[in-house]
């Protein structure tokens, strides 16, 4: 608005522009207040805890707080020769405090993770301290070195120094089967101990193939549902919706019954003569079971978005394609298929994201080869109680999902996700 035009005033003498802005702000606050309760609730109970997973996964403060003096005096140590008397003295004083607090066991455990062999020598040192065998008027360095020969080995002191920083990337490296070696270089663990990488690959592989199978099976039936007259398609839609609403565990249970060796599927194969009665194939507790059950369970998530997109495509488009000289196949490929891409994107995204975090079905029908990364997370949460490792793996998985989600948003747009 140029300064020359006369300002329009409202009845109470305030310029209209300001008055409108005020009303706008009031409306904004009103709308925000409606969202606020849920937003706050989610931030407190959900978003913050996910952030906490991150701090937990890199947290290494425990040992930093256990050996404060040692790390302080180690700052000047070059890490090549054995440390000076001062370092030994401060280590002993830290250690005595830990013994008083009965926390020396935790220290031994943590150090042992850094380098094997700490357990024994910490115990030995503990006994000496307990019996007051260490005379503080004489050289503490000499006395500690006498406790066990490993205390004379500079590698152990280097290991202690490595634990000084309050943060560590060790859990993330461990999830990739790697670790930091003595020279602070990222190293791979020996080949026979690389378990996590197999799990990551298997998780991605299962999610990918389940998505492909769902697409191959979902596309034809979504097309049929969208093109059939309403009275038939409504009836067939029940076949899609009933499994969708049925408990996941019920569906998993029914696959366990169908796929077992004396199960219906095997009975059927024997009946049509595909396999011999005494040579029934094992279909459960391996990848076949995982693929079959997961495909059936996730198929509705592929069909529903596809259907809602196909429903909006006018049949006259195909007719136009054909009338312009295209064979049915060409008309389908050049006209119909491109129009369904938003549905394909939404369906594949949903199925892939659901499959990649899958846990229950693979654990029940997958056997040993059905263990996926989620099972590993649950295992560390519930059994080993290594929560920081579980958090690290969880966040890596989440990172992967977010990248996929971001890609999808770039390519197709999120607004296409529809329910039911």
């Amino acid at each position: 608005m140029s300064s020359e035009t006369k300002q329009i005033l409202t009845t109470d003498g305030i310029p209209l522009e300001i008055s409108l802005k005020k009303a706008e702000r009031k409306n904004k606050i009103k709308a925000f207040l409606l969202v606020a309760p849920l937003l706050l609730f989610l931030i407190i109970t959900y978003i913050f805890p996910i952030g906490e997973m991150f701090t937990r996964s890199i947290d290494d403060k425990m040992i930093t707080n256990m050996l404060p003096k040692t790390f302080k005096s180690m700052e000047t140590w070059d890490g090549k020769e054995l440390p000076s008397e001062e370092v030994f003295a401060s280590f002993l004083s830290d250690f005595k405090i830990l013994v008083d607090k009965k926390e020396h066991g935790k220290l031994a455990q943590r150090l042992n993770k850094e380098k094997n062999g700490f357990n024994t020598i910490t115990k030995k040192l503990f006994r000496q301290v307990k019996r007051n065998k260490i005379d503080e008027t004489q050289s503490i360095k000499e006395q500690i070195m006498k406790v066990h020969k490993r205390w004379r080995n500079v590698e152990y002191w280097q290991a202690i120094k490595r634990t000084a920083p309050p943060y560590t990337s060790a859990k993330y490296l461990k999830a990739m089967d790697m670790y930091l070696n003595e020279d602070n270089k990222i190293t791979q663990v020996s080949e026979d101990r690389r378990i996590h990488r197999i799990l990551w690959l298997r998780t991605v592989e299962v999610a990918f193939f389940v998505t492909v199978f769902c697409f191959l099976m979902g596309y034809p039936i979504a097309h049929l549902l969208a093109t059939l007259p309403m009275k038939y398609s409504n009836l067939l839609m029940i076949c899609v919706l009933l499994p969708f609403w049925t408990s996941l565990l019920v569906r998993t249970a029914s696959w366990m019954i169908l796929l077992q060796q004396q199960g219906v599927v095997n009975d059927f194969f024997v009946m049509i003569g595909l396999v011999a009665d005494d040579n029934r194939p094992e279909m459960m507790y391996n990848k076949v079971g995982t693929y079959v059950a997961m495909t059936q369970i996730l198929l509705p998530f592929m069909v529903l978005p596809l259907y809602s997109v196909m429903k909006t495509i006018s049949p006259s488009l195909m007719r136009a394609g054909k009338s312009l000289g295209g064979t049915p196949f060409v008309a389908f490929w050049k006209v119909y298929f491109p129009l369904t891409i938003p549905g394909i994107g939404a369906g594949c995204l949903l199925v892939f994201i659901l499959a990649i975090g899958y846990y229950i079905t693979p654990a029940l029908v997958g056997g040993a080869s059905g263990t996926l990364i989620s099972n590993q997370i649950a295992y560390h949460m519930k059994t080993t109680l290594d929560w920081s490792f579980a958090s690290a793996m969880g966040l890596m998985l989440l990172g992967g999902v977010l990248v996929i989600y971001w890609l999808y948003n770039k390519l197709v747009g999120v607004d296409n996700i529809k329910l039911g």
């Binding site: 709308a31 959900y46 996910i50 996941l248 565990l249 366990m256 846990y359 989600y405």
Partner: protein, 284 residues
């Protein structure tokens, strides 16, 4: 889907092939649910069709496992069912209230930062369940709510609200806002307007969101496995332990009941969807 008479043979073949594939997929989708039905009436202890069942011998069928489900001495199904319903009902109420109110704010055109807030609100649906489980467990453990009903209800509210937010915002997208303005101009206060005008119109969306939230809570096992103690066992937890340890036919009886329940929910959801479309003026 009758083919026109002039269809060439190869397209005719292709068409029948397509129908065959579709038939196979529909059977693949629905058949597993029907296997459970007859087997749950099995008189024997094995989870296979006995010879008697194949010959439709009435003696081969019994209600034994249903009786076991209800009266069985060591069976935890009673407690589990009670817990499941209590938790699901409260979680649904919480999700519906929080989600509907939030959806009202979100569909206002004055809402600031709409994109990022919407993303936050529906994030529990996108984040893999196992990660949600870990995060929620950390919160509940800190708040002293692990192994309590309250903790599980709160967890299920987190997981259920995205469905309510999505269905209600979808319903509101076709909502004619002039009716609320008309109510306001006639002297109604906002709360009254909501109860008397807005709510009745968006009710189908609210209820179908609530059904999603109910099913989510009722069927949820990953997060509950982290949170539940012995007292808070739910039907999914019992099924999970049952399927892992001893696959008894009682589980099939429970499963049959659950299928009946989901059929009822499906029917109500479908009726609501149609009503909602009618109210929103979508004619098909």
């Amino acid at each position: 889907m009758a083919l026109p008479k002039y269809t060439e043979t190869r397209y005719r073949i292709w068409h029948y092939f397509y129908i065959a594939i579709c038939t196979f997929v529909f059977i693949f989708l629905i058949a597993p649910l029907f296997v459970i039905f007859p087997l749950s009436f099995n008189a024997e202890e094995f989870l296979v069709f006995s010879e008697g069942m194949k010959n439709l011998d009435p003696d081969a069928f019994s209600l034994r496992w249903y009786k076991d489900m209800v009266y069985g001495t060591k069976n935890p199904w009673g407690l589990a069912a009670k817990n499941s319903f209590i938790i699901a009902i409260f979680a649904t109420l919480g999700s519906v209230i929080l989600g509907t109110v939030a959806a009202l704010g979100l569909s206002s055109r004055h809402m600031p930062f709409k994109g990022i807030i919407m993303a936050t609100l529906i994030s529990p649906m996108i984040v893999p369940l196992i990660i949600s489980g870990v995060a929620i467990f950390f919160f509940m453990a800190k708040a002293g709510l692990a192994a309590t009903h309250t903790g599980i209800v709160l967890a299920h509210i987190i997981l259920g609200t995205p469905f309510v937010v999505i269905t209600v915002t979808a319903t509101l997208s076709g909502f004619d806002h002039s009716v609320t303005r008309a109510a306001a101009s006639l002297g109604s206060n906002p709360v009254n307007t909501f109860m008397k005008v807005t709510l009745p119109l968006i009710l189908p969306g609210v209820i179908s969101g609530g059904l999603f939230a109910f099913v989510t809570s009722f069927d949820e096992v990953v997060v509950v496995l982290f949170l539940a103690g012995l007292e808070n066992t739910t039907i999914p937890i019992q099924m999970w332990t049952g399927l892992r340890e001893q696959l008894s036919p009682t589980i099939l009886a429970v499963a049959t009941c659950l299928i009946v329940l989901s059929t009822l929910i499906l029917i109500s959801a479908e009726l609501l969807r149609r009503r909602s479309e009618r109210l929103r003026g979508i004619n098909r």
